[in-house]
Symmetry: C2
Subunit: 507 residues, 2 copies
Amino acid sequence: MALQAYKDLKVRLEKIHDLDRARAVLQWDAWTMMPPGGAEVRAEQVATLERVYHERLTDPDIGRRLEELRSYEETLPPDSDEASLLRITRQDYEKALRVPAGLRAQMARAASLAEHVWEEARARSNFSFFLPHLEEIVALKRRYIECFSDAEHPYDPLLDDFEPGLTTSEVDPVLQGLKGALLPLAAAIADRVDRVDDSCLFGRFPVARQRQLVHGILRQLPYESSSWRVDEAAHPFSTGFCSTDIRITTHYRESFIAPGIFSALHEFGHGLYDGGIDSALERTALSHPSSLGMHESQSRMWENLIGRSREFWSRFYPAVAASFPEQFDGIEMEEFYRAVNKVQPSRIRIDADEVTYNLHVILRYELEREIFEEKLALRDLPEAWNARSREYLGIDIRNDAEGVLQDVHWSEGLFGYFPTYSLGNILSAQFWNALRADIPAVSAQIEEGDFAPLRAWLREKIHRHGRKLTAAEAVEWVTGGPIDPEPYVTYLKRKMGSIYGLDLSTA
Amino acid sequence: MALQAYKDLKVRLEKIHDLDRARAVLQWDAWTMMPPGGAEVRAEQVATLERVYHERLTDPDIGRRLEELRSYEETLPPDSDEASLLRITRQDYEKALRVPAGLRAQMARAASLAEHVWEEARARSNFSFFLPHLEEIVALKRRYIECFSDAEHPYDPLLDDFEPGLTTSEVDPVLQGLKGALLPLAAAIADRVDRVDDSCLFGRFPVARQRQLVHGILRQLPYESSSWRVDEAAHPFSTGFCSTDIRITTHYRESFIAPGIFSALHEFGHGLYDGGIDSALERTALSHPSSLGMHESQSRMWENLIGRSREFWSRFYPAVAASFPEQFDGIEMEEFYRAVNKVQPSRIRIDADEVTYNLHVILRYELEREIFEEKLALRDLPEAWNARSREYLGIDIRNDAEGVLQDVHWSEGLFGYFPTYSLGNILSAQFWNALRADIPAVSAQIEEGDFAPLRAWLREKIHRHGRKLTAAEAVEWVTGGPIDPEPYVTYLKRKMGSIYGLDLSTA
């Protein structure tokens, strides 16, 4: 009886999930394929799907069924698929009930429209052009926050959308601690910035050849063309419509070879996570990574811990050099390895090195907090952005395009999202240490192009669980301890110490 | 009051329409972009959208509101946007109510799955591999037909899905009459088949250069890159998500230049119709062509009446010759013009010439009728197909891939669709005659690449109305008479008579 009731609910939840993934298809299309003329109506279509999804999820009958299944749930192991689906659905249901369907639809519509305005504003480097849309988005977010009147801090409901269960009071000390460790590290390296010459990464790299190179590298990774696509988007992203339909994107620049490669590796890490979730969880709310920090731990692992390692380029540098012989003639692999690891404060977050990247993130996190604490007016955002860029990165921002307009996130209404980038870095090093303890040969395997053991470990330890474990639970399960920035700071000190000839063990 | 009630209903209908267009995005993606691994879950997603659309359209509250607005509707001119939306919505509502949501979802799911099986069956040239899926689809169609117990003929409900208002007893004499005119015409030309040499169309045409050529031609037509995309699909199709987001496809063959060009022109005609519908009808059920025959009248007009005319190639042949100099060295435009108009029975419908094309269509229409009249078992379909190919086209079918498996339609559950291709041909000539009477200079304008007057005429007379007029009403409005195959037969006799040196005026 209870089993049948569970099965009935699951069928219903699968259809609700279909609506969510249909929305994801429409957004993927909007960001990769859609001609600009489609934007206005597409915003309506996305908003409608969002609304119908929300209506169906918050149908009181779902609540009744969840209640009826409580005693069944208690008979099951908490980590069983069934108990997990009931637990997570209840969380989603209760959270969704807080937010009126109309507000959700308005948020979706405002975001869809603002994205295209943001694109134009960035092209014109004109923040004022974007400001009215940002004001609309933030006003809607404030109404969203009001739906969670029991939150300790106005930023908590935003953070919870991306990092379920984690609060501002938990995240803030972690990020401030990271900032405290990174500012002197960046300063120590800054004195020796000329020790690394990355000029080989700049020049002329025809996009068609970059594309061929990147596709060639991906095909040697656990990338299956029968269930993946790689396309191009102004702001690279990844998404998945099921575990065997994974879409990643990258963005090539003709004058700079790094972004096309490292965005692809970054999104590959995301895609591998989406594709590694247990197929038994398909078409349910469990078939997603457990949080954006967890998701980012996988993308940053592939982008940096693997993708900026000596063993990775020992395997793939010959293909790079062969693709652009006029650029890499006489350049040894070691020079390329050092170049892609150069630490140098820059204006654009997605181009930033591993050390200063987190300073970009913390800058955005602090501005977001101040906006929602009503300490910072949106019209003053460019000035605040530029001032903090000078303070943390020693960088003068020359125009809005390379400053406050550089990221797509706010145009999409993604506030509370940025902190997950730094959490991802922290988690990536914790997981990597555990992985190396279990697979001591991993470096040699990467050098040989044997990614199977690495993939199997990631799938077993992290990917397959989907949303069954929270970030904190996953870290506990894999490492036996709590979220801890120390391994990440140690990793940076060791790698950068070696590259820059610094003893950073006491820095 | 009534006005407000109308506006409220319209907002609701817009959201229902969004669900339909979201499904269209998912299908476009499935046919152009999706990796094969996505097929199974995509079928579920499409079925879910179809189901939710149907549920919302058949909500009894829609019926109540339509009833309440009946007296308001009667105060309006029947061709006003408001009266038309109420009339068409009532038709859709009443028709949808006949079909249980579960059956609709099953049909959608079966079609989504069968498409991919069909692709594999065609690749293997193995009808038996596809047969179980076809049986499932036909069994569901029979249940669909049963929902319309008042239909005069079992084929009527199928036809009505594509050609609203037209019945089998109306269409059958038109198609049998057309067959009667075309069989002797094809026979007369067959005696002189060697008068046209089309060997210049065969050889080696690298796809990248074909793509560049076709995109170059499209850019000189009323094709706007800000609201159109052209992609590639196994079976070319077109779709639109709004009047400013038009997606067309084509399919290139390296050894034969015609299909890539003429599929693109065909789909361009469809796209121009979708994009020309009055923007006041956006996001409503009126924002579609009024029938598939009407839709096809536009695609066939661009493919044939324009795209296979001497004036069109007078403008564009130089670009073809320049794209493939090794193929077209020493070939004059006139020879190319004759080649693309060669009449020769062939196995594949989409490669057929203008004369025999309709025999392909009538063959399918007759088989469909016999299937639903229970006169033909599905397992006997290949044999029946091959026998009739011999009879009508004088062609021996050597395997299933070039016979019964050649079209995607049945795998998608599209029965009742084929007759609209021949109706489209008939309508295209009727509209073209009216257009030439209004714009005597149209041939010269095409030769000069000035498509603006032609586009303006099509938009004014045909496109802008969307579903406000039925096919019969549109023909009446444009030509002052009924649907009539005579202009099409006359057009063929005149053009082919000139090319083949035949006096066909009495044939």
